[in-house]
Symmetry: C2
Subunit: 207 residues, 2 copies
């Protein structure tokens, strides 16, 4: 018996973010998987059951459905250690999360999607892949520089900003073809994050 | 005498968001303009004075510099009517703001930038412009559908989500070449928003 239902795409980093935070917080939830390019997801789009047409969507006990991974993280984290209370720390945490959606996801996740999903492969021209590789490495260099002075993205403790950026960074090498070895602070941060209690891997999907 | 300094790009919708909220809130600030493709901005990049390398950046009285337009909006709006206090309304407001950075800015603002900024014009191929036109119209259709049932993006009152989405939507036709006449609810919302007390236009830059 649980109050929360998560509609999530098992292979997607955006959906993975919410599964991670629910695990860190020890919150039970019902998981409804909708994989990319499946009839389930096509039907959800046809019937407009997902707000903004996107996964993940978190359904609350009263039936309210909340979209957008980073907004769901903020909602669940409020009042916990995962969201800073200090206004400036909060602003910096949110800044990295907006940066994630605008600068990081659009290069690092997009390059992986072009390489992994069958229906995107026609878009994976050499020019586009080269452009995304270069842009993604620039983003990783920004993270590497920041992490030379901070253990965690938001500052002194793990926060929703770390969850948000871990989701697609941890697989940037294996799925996106980025060279993470150039960014030792990013690699050390990925290891620190994966060692946190109740961390779950991308493929650890609740039954 | 003022405690706030805003580093902003006069032509940029992201910077415009913060100038709007500062005006709505009646907060005085020092304005430092750094236009695209100018020596001032090049120098700021070389000397890494802008966090995350981006405009706008808000500098507080103690010298703290906050980047990312939507994060700055959240910081300034906290405790005012521009940020809902109800957790679900807050989550929905943030959802639209993350959507703005991921789905809206990357199509609607990007198409305008390809058409307007000299250094981007080589990227403005017919295929890319057609792809962005189609994607942008899809985003505007989503807003139009939402605004058929709501006066404001966040729900019952103007919020930071309206500011965030107004910034690039108001010029989507004139700069981006999108056909706003297809989206009457969006047009009506733009008019409602522009009629709010202390609304400022993009080119009303403080001295």
């Amino acid at each position: 018996m649980t109050d929360l239902t998560l509609y999530s795409m098992p292979s997607s980093g955006n959906s993975y973010k919410v599964r991670m935070l629910l695990s860190f917080l020890g919150l039970p939830y019902r998981h409804v998987g909708m994989e990319y390019e499946t009839p389930e997801l096509a039907k959800a789009h046809e019937t407009s059951t997902l707000p903004l047409g996107k996964l993940p969507t978190l359904e609350l006990a009263d039936g309210t459905r909340l979209p957008e991974s980073n907004a769901i993280l903020c909602y669940l984290a409020e009042g916990t250690d995962w969201m800073p209370t200090d206004p400036i720390q909060r602003a910096k945490t949110l800044a990295w999360m907006f940066w994630e959606q605008n600068q990081h996801e659009g290069t690092i996740a997009v390059r992986a999607a072009l390489l992994v999903y069958e229906s995107r492969k026609h878009l994976a021209t050499p020019e586009r892949l080269a452009e995304l590789l270069d842009a993604g490495h620039q983003r990783l260099a920004q993270m590497n520089s920041h992490l030379s002075e901070h253990d965690w993205i938001g500052g002194g403790a793990p926060s929703v900003a770390d969850i948000s950026l871990y989701a697609y960074t941890h697989s940037a090498g294996t799925k996106g073809g980025f060279d993470l070895d150039q960014f030792p602070n990013v690699l050390a941060w990925l290891d620190r994050f994966a060692a946190l209690p109740n961390h779950v891997a991308l493929d650890e999907i609740p039954a």
